[in-house]
Symmetry: C2
Subunit: 401 residues, 2 copies
């Protein structure tokens, strides 16, 4: 925490925080955010763009029933360009106005409208890894892909290198909807195109049971992805949830350097449970936060921070008195540096890190106290919304709010 300081950026990179502007930067433009807090941009490691429009609706089912009842019917609509244009417009608009600077985003199986989503994101300047979803089993007819891998290769060729801060990420939805044959091909595509991977892991007991039934040859759920070369190691991988990962799965996550996207609100809303984040942090596993809209109803990673703190307190109280609740500082870490690490040198104001920053004002939240910067930040984490964001930068470039 640096009071009354200068944060310097050149060429999209952070050059450090100084009490006086170093001589070599005297020619730089100075922007004055007096009275505001400047924080690293927030990273959302797991969010479903097509689900944004029905967030805060239909959270009265568990995962598998919820997917069939709400998610898949909605995602089927994204075969329509005009529907996708409107719905993705709302999503991208909200993401732009939020404190999120980077995100790992699921689209749908539809290549063309996923490209539309990528175009829209590119126009904002936000940094996004976007996935065309793969599904070739256990899903309604109109979402079932016959040429999933081929379409994915076409999409990779069309989008790799096309944008400045938007890139493709391989996105097998989850094991239940991806046959071994499809995962095999996706593994080959990964090795051919060197793209990162995102998926879901051990979110719900019935889902895990289904995976065991579909892949009886696997040691555990994550072992399926790993078998096809889609689980860390050389492959930058983020897995959402990990609520019920077994010891063996946790060991593999750690060993392979897989990122866990902790999505506390989603795990609550669709009654999955509480992920043992204290355990993961103690083991040195990489953890970031995900809004998981629309399992989560809120796109805000500040909200994800407070949700993470809150469920960690219930976990401590109800399940494990040895698992100390997350502090506000730890939750802030998860939403900035923790998740940011998935994108490289991101989420800290250190020399050489990408310059992603959010400028926050707490003027709308008056109080009679003398507060430290830490306390002002804690209040903003719990109480701020998009009204309180004064400016936002990604790779040194200001984002229009």
């Amino acid at each position: 925490m640096y009071p009354d300081s200068y944060l310097v950026s050149t060429e999209g990179k952070c050059r450090g925080v100084f009490t006086e502007i170093p001589k070599q930067y005297h020619s730089l433009l100075v922007r004055n955010y007096e009275g505001c807090l400047i924080i690293p941009g927030l990273s959302d490691l797991h969010v479903h763009a097509p689900q944004f429009s029905y967030r805060a609706l239909g959270m009265d089912r568990e995962l598998l029933a919820w997917l069939n009842r709400y998610t898949f019917p909605e995602e089927a609509k994204f075969s329509s360009s005009s529907y996708a244009d409107e719905a993705y417009g709302y999503f991208v608009d909200a993401l732009r106005r939020s404190a999120t600077t980077r995100a790992c985003i699921f689209g749908t199986v539809h290549r063309k409208t996923v490209e539309m989503l990528m175009d829209k994101l590119d126009q904002t300047g936000l940094f996004a890894l976007v996935g065309k979803v793969n599904m070739d089993r256990e899903v309604r007819e109109d979402l079932l892909e016959k040429n999933s891998a081929e379409e994915t290769e076409t999409w990779l060729k069309r989008t790799m290198g096309k944008y400045k801060t938007v890139k493709p990420i391989l996105t097998p939805r989850f094991v239940p909807t991806c046959s071994d044959g499809l995962l095999e091909k996706l593994g080959e595509l990964q090795r051919a195109y060197q793209v990162p991977v995102q998926s879901h892991l051990s979110e719900n007991p019935d889902e895990i049971e289904l995976v065991h039934r579909l892949c009886p040859w696997s040691d555990f759920y994550g072992d399926v992805y790993d078998h096809f070369g889609l689980f860390g190691g050389e492959v930058k991988t983020v897995m959402a949830h990990c609520v019920y990962s077994t010891d063996a799965e946790v060991e593999r996550i750690k060993e392979r350097g897989v990122f866990v996207a902790h999505c506390p609100q989603s795990n609550t809303n669709i009654a999955s449970g509480i992920a043992p984040i204290r355990k993961y942090l103690r083991k040195g596993i990489y953890v970031g936060l995900g809004s998981d809209v629309a399992g989560g109803a809120h796109l805000s990673i500040f909200r994800a921070m407070t949700d993470a703190i809150q469920v960690s307190k219930l976990y401590w109280r109800l399940l494990d008195p040895e698992a100390a609740p997350l502090s506000a500082a730890e939750a802030f870490y998860l939403g900035t540096a923790g998740g940011g690490a998935f994108f490289g040198k991101v989420g800290r104001f250190e020399e050489g890190y990408d310059f992603d920053a959010v400028i926050l004002s707490d003027q709308r939240l008056p109080h009679p106290h003398q507060l430290s910067i830490e306390e002002r930040l804690e209040r903003l984490i719990y109480l701020s919304d998009d009204r309180d964001i004064r400016a936002k930068y990604v790779c040194g470039r200001e984002i229009e709010l």
Copy 2:
């Protein structure tokens, strides 16, 4: 749910909902809230006004340590009129701008500044039951009252009948800080002045242990209040929390018609646990919602609704598969009619009920769907904030937002 209808109010009372304006009301002024949703006002059955300014700070302790570390030092400041003027100003302002129309409010032990709070609330037109807190043991010196009952009687005499929609409510803080002698006198005051009662009950394991130690003669925590005539029956009583009420306590709550103020966010933030609300509803116990600022960080009863749904899902998943999670409709009921019943005929748009209403717009939350009124309401419960409130009425009178 009534689409495109007229909600009629005269003399501060609701006269029903009609598809056409009945003849006898043709002369009434018509206000057009086309496109908006009109809902009954929300009731906050438990909130601490002096804690508002430090909400979203210092939630890293359990109840008793939290009170000593954060709450009591802050409440001590309310001996100062100038401090109270500023801090209560922020609270009343936020309550006015929220969707809450009625509240049961704790002040501090300081009679004069509690009267200042009541004056401020009176100016808004909100309906409020406000308590001068009683404490004569187990608290730091500067909050320890020597003439707690006498001061309370002075306060009752000065405030009863003084305001139109603001009234005093007896407020022994909780058993740990109220000696048997003090509770005895408060029971006498209750019978002499016929005022309602609010307090805390069975929130935290250590607190309950402390009550057993301080009142070894009692059968259970709530039995202490009951022994002194401060626990329902003839006495309108609301008890916050009831997270750990024993079967005997639950039976007494039911038998005496005591209201439970369910404060899910507070119970999470200070790691108390999850109250078994499904059980209370099945037993026919009166339940409403409380923000419990500053155990809760948010004054919004919409937020309390979603918190209630969310913790009920974790309760179902982690503690009791027989306890079905709360639906959005049930949570909405708790925040309107459920809590409203504490104030009389409040919280419904039925003939003869007090006309408390909130007009909400969902224009700020665009989406590509055709939604039912129920779905639009569910979205507003999860996603709305004070920006979305178009107007608010209490007893037929419009509140300045």
